[in-house]
Amino acid sequence: MTPKRKQRMMLVGLMLGGVAMAVGFGVNAFKQNIMLFHSPTDVAAGTVKPGQPFRVGGMVVEGSVKRSDTDLNVYFELTDHAQTVPVSFSGILPDLFREGQGIVAMGSLDDQGTFGATEVLAKHDENYMPPEVAEALEKAGNMPGTEANYGSKTVVSP
């Protein structure tokens, strides 16, 4: 092997090694950070074990939001109109969090079956429904009309 070729091979070897390492890191990190989405119906059916992190989405049940008087804890219920999941959260809810609207929460179930949310995402636009929520509602056969699914041809009256 000429010195030049040797160097070239070293370069190629270094790069292959680097890429292999990156792929290794990547796949490993990937496995640990995938979070599944489940609907309240899935949760009620017991498909998720307590402690396992996942995302749940649905509509916030009207009148279910209860705030603590002393700290920042909030309790509410999330429904796909077939089943309901109780959710607890501590912190500031997003601006667009309202009763009767679709949200997605991340967290895990505790032993009592309450979903402890670490993060709550509400849509950025009141006419926009998170696709996951829309689908979960559709599956449960309870898509509440089309006004929630903001069609491009709709005009929202001021």
Binding site: K4, Q7, R8, M10, L11, M15, G18, V19, A22, F25, G26, N28, A29, F30, Q32, N33, I34, M35, L36, F37, R55, R67, D69, T70, D71, L72, S90, G91, I92, L93, D95, L96, V104, L121, K123, H124, D125, E126, Y128, P130, P131, E132, E135, N149, Y150, G151, S152, K153, V155, V156, S157, P158
Partner: protein, 686 residues
């Protein structure tokens, strides 16, 4: 009447784009000079027509023409003028028309500044840009017509999403689009090179300033988006690895790789096929970004309306562009032979390493962004990939880049020995760690991670500074040597220093960030870090088109008053949207950030998020430096000089194809001696 004029102009623009895409391209194969000469006037006509159309839509916004559906959906009589102008790109239809507008402007700019290009190349480049225009103009006309009328005419419009009523948001999309669409120029050159089967130094030299400018706009656009998210979303974060952010970040990563590999291809004739592939990828990822953002597959502030027809159209267009160009690449790339060899320790190797790291990083981001979509499309359920994945993969990949960036930039082309410099570099390396250790002791807590990341940042600056010094070490007239150094060198150094500044910002913000969410009643005190926050007043205020609860917080440190922070919770009139307007006391070494959450106990107390974010400004300061570096590199006089050389060459030559060869020969002669020599005088090349 005006909206119809806009629509009509748009249809005419589509016809012009067809002419532009077909006639000069055919002419370039048959050798009809007249056909090829159609390219420039057609590009100019297209630019005029699309601008006219865009002006018509803007007029509809300014004049409150609610008989236009799009205006009725996104504007309102109470909307201030500036947001009526920026509101034009505030919704789906308008933003796609805006894309067409920018694309037409870029095409027009290429037509204006390219008189010196060989006619065949120019005809093909403009043709390909015309083809891209067809894709987007058809998209507007077929699926998202912004001029659609509405009857009966509503009295008032539905108004703009309040999140978008913000100066940062007003200029973020134009910058981002200038970047996205700007890569179409590099793409057009790459495809033209694949068609002709050759990519000479003159063409590459041509691509460089265009790519740099596009990259600069993309850099500004992404940082504006990040800055906006920081102060407007009320979470105090600056980057969330949100799919939409990733959609703009992937073309940036590939674009960064592209501007580096263009340097190697132009100067040394290596990595040619690779450069072409990167140019194709950069633009493809820009299109993919548009698809992700506009088709409504993502849950985000950017996805307006989920209309399957639009998603399908963009997907088809994406398929044609990516599939077609990759097919062409597969068939023709073997013609693009690299001409030079290089050794392990050389600038080529350093650039190659940079490229590989950036492309791998981009692939990791792509995987994390698309995997959930694939899984969903295949019906295996819904999932999402967490932020931790991106951090875990991305950060280790960036470390080697920080290590080599300064040293790589001071290596010679072809072959180099670090002998004579290695001692200095080792000393600099040790000094960087010592300095970082000292600097960390000035911060609030001592953290090893802070020492490590600061050493990296100091090392990048030190090695870049040493590179600048090394360049001028033997010059007798230092000042004149400095004055005569090409702008591109200063651009590169500025951008690399920007990377160091950015690293400081990212590292210190993530390590020393302090965040507390608390319940505060009026006159309550709360301490975060060294700072004491007192909730001093709460009142209702009235803005132009919103009313707000405004809380005032007195900030003090060790008893000394620091500042007063005003945070608002706004409710916008028309759409009744609630929005957090965070109060920020900005500073070079720290930001104090207060966001009002929700009223508790019927308004007696509020939930308040208080954050102390050290050095967060450095993040955007770094990106500004990077963008400025890109700008400096693009205005380098050498590119203009080549233009003159190529121009005289093509003027002399009568045969259209011949001129390209002549032009490249002239350049090759000029750069060959400089690239070959390894002495100190060779440093003219960069």
């Amino acid at each position: 009447m005006i909206p119809e004029l806009g629509q009509f102009a748009l249809i005419l623009a589509l016809c012009t784009a067809f002419v532009l895409a077909v006639v000069p391209m055919v002419g370039s194969f048959t050798g009809h000079t007249g056909w090829m000469d159609m390219a420039r006037p057609a590009a100019a006509a297209q630019a005029f027509l699309v601008s006219l159309s865009y002006a018509c839509l803007t007029w509809a916004f300014i004049s409150h023409d609610f008989s236009v559906l799009y205006v009725a959906n996104t504007s309102n009589t109470s909307l201030p003028l500036i947001y009526r102008i920026s509101g034009v790109w505030g919704g789906h239809e308008g933003s796609i028309l805006f894309w067409c507008f920018i694309s037409a402007l870029w095409t027009g700019a290429v037509a204006i500044f390219s008189r010196a290009l060989p006619p065949v190349l120019l005809a093909r480049v403009l043709s390909i840009l015309g083809f891209v225009s067809i894709g987007f103009l058809l998209f507007v006309l077929l699926t998202s017509n912004p001029f659609e009328r509405l009857f009966p005419v509503p009295v008032d419009g539905a108004s703009l999403n309040p999140l978008l009523q913000d100066p940062g948001m007003a200029i973020h999309p134009p910058m981002l689009y200038l970047g996205y669409v700007g890569f179409s120029v590099a793409f057009a050159f790459a495809i033209a090179a694949l068609i002709s089967g050759k990519l000479d130094a003159a063409t590459l030299r041509w691509m460089r300033p265009w790519t740099n400018i596009a990259w600069m706009f993309l850099t500004i656009g992404i940082s504006l988006g990040s800055w906006w998210a920081y102060y407007e979303l009320g979470w105090g974060g600056w980057w969330f690895w949100d799919p939409v952010e990733n959609a703009s970040f992937m073309p940036w990563l590939i674009g960064t790789a592209l501007i580096h590999s263009l340097a190697a291809s132009e100067k040394r004739g290596v990595f040619k096929a690779w450069t072409v592939l990167l140019a194709v990828l950069a633009f493809s990822l820009s299109l993919l970004g548009t698809f992700l953002v506009r088709s409504g597959v993502l849950t985000s502030v950017h996805s307006f309306a989920a209309d399957p027809a639009r998603g399908l159209y963009i997907l088809l267009f994406l398929g044609i562009v990516i599939g077609g160009s990759l097919l062409l690449f597969a068939i023709r790339s073997n013609k693009l032979k690299s001409t030079a060899s290089y050794e392990l320790v050389s600038r080529e190797s350093a650039l190659l390493l940079n490229n590989i790291l950036l492309v791998v990083a981009c692939s990791a981001v792509l995987l994390g962004t698309l995997y959930p979509l694939f899984v969903d499309a295949l019906g295996f359920g819904k999932l999402s990939v967490g932020e931790q994945y991106f951090n875990a993969v991305f950060v280790p990949l960036m470390l080697p880049i920080l290590l080599i960036v300064g040293v790589g930039a001071m290596l010679n082309w072809k072959r180099d020995k670090l002998k004579g410099r290695s001692t200095t570099l080792v000393v600099l390396g040790v000094a960087s760690i010592v300095l970082a250790a000292f600097l960390t002791s000035l911060l609030t807590h001592y953290r090893i991670s802070a020492v490590a990341s600061l050493s990296m940042a100091v090392w990048v600056s030190a090695s870049t500074a040493y590179g600048i010094f090394y360049r001028f070490r033997n010059k007798r007239k230092r000042l004149s040597a400095v004055m005569h150094t090409p702008a591109a060198f200063w651009g590169m150094s500025t951008a690399h220093i920007g990377l160091a500044v950015f690293t400081v910002g990212v590292a210190l913000t993530s390590i020393y960030n302090e965040e507390q969410t608390v319940r505060m009643a009026l006159n309550d005190n709360h301490t975060v870090g060294d700072y004491d926050f007192e909730f001093t007043s709460l009142e209702q205020v009235r803005g132009a088109n919103y009313s707000a609860a405004e809380g005032r917080f007195q900030v003090s440190r060790n008893g000394d008053a620091v500042s007063e922070i005003v945070a608002q919770k706004r409710v916008y009139d028309v759409r009744n949207d609630t929005m957090t307007e965070a109060g920020i006391d900005a500073g070079l070494t720290r930001d104090l950030f207060i966001a009002l959450g929700e009223p508790l106990d019927g308004g007696n107390a509020w939930s308040v998020r208080i954050q102390s974010k050290p050095f967060i400004r450095w993040i955007w300061l770094g990106t500004i430096l990077m963008a400025f570096g890109g700008f400096l590199a693009a205005i380098d006089g050498r590119y203009r000089r080549v233009r003159a050389t190529a121009g005289s060459a093509s003027a002399k030559s009568t045969a259209a194809v011949g001129s390209a060869v002549t032009g490249s020969a002239a350049v090759a002669q000029r750069s060959a001696p400089a690239a070959g020599a390894t002495g100190s005088s060779s440093n003219i090349t960069f």
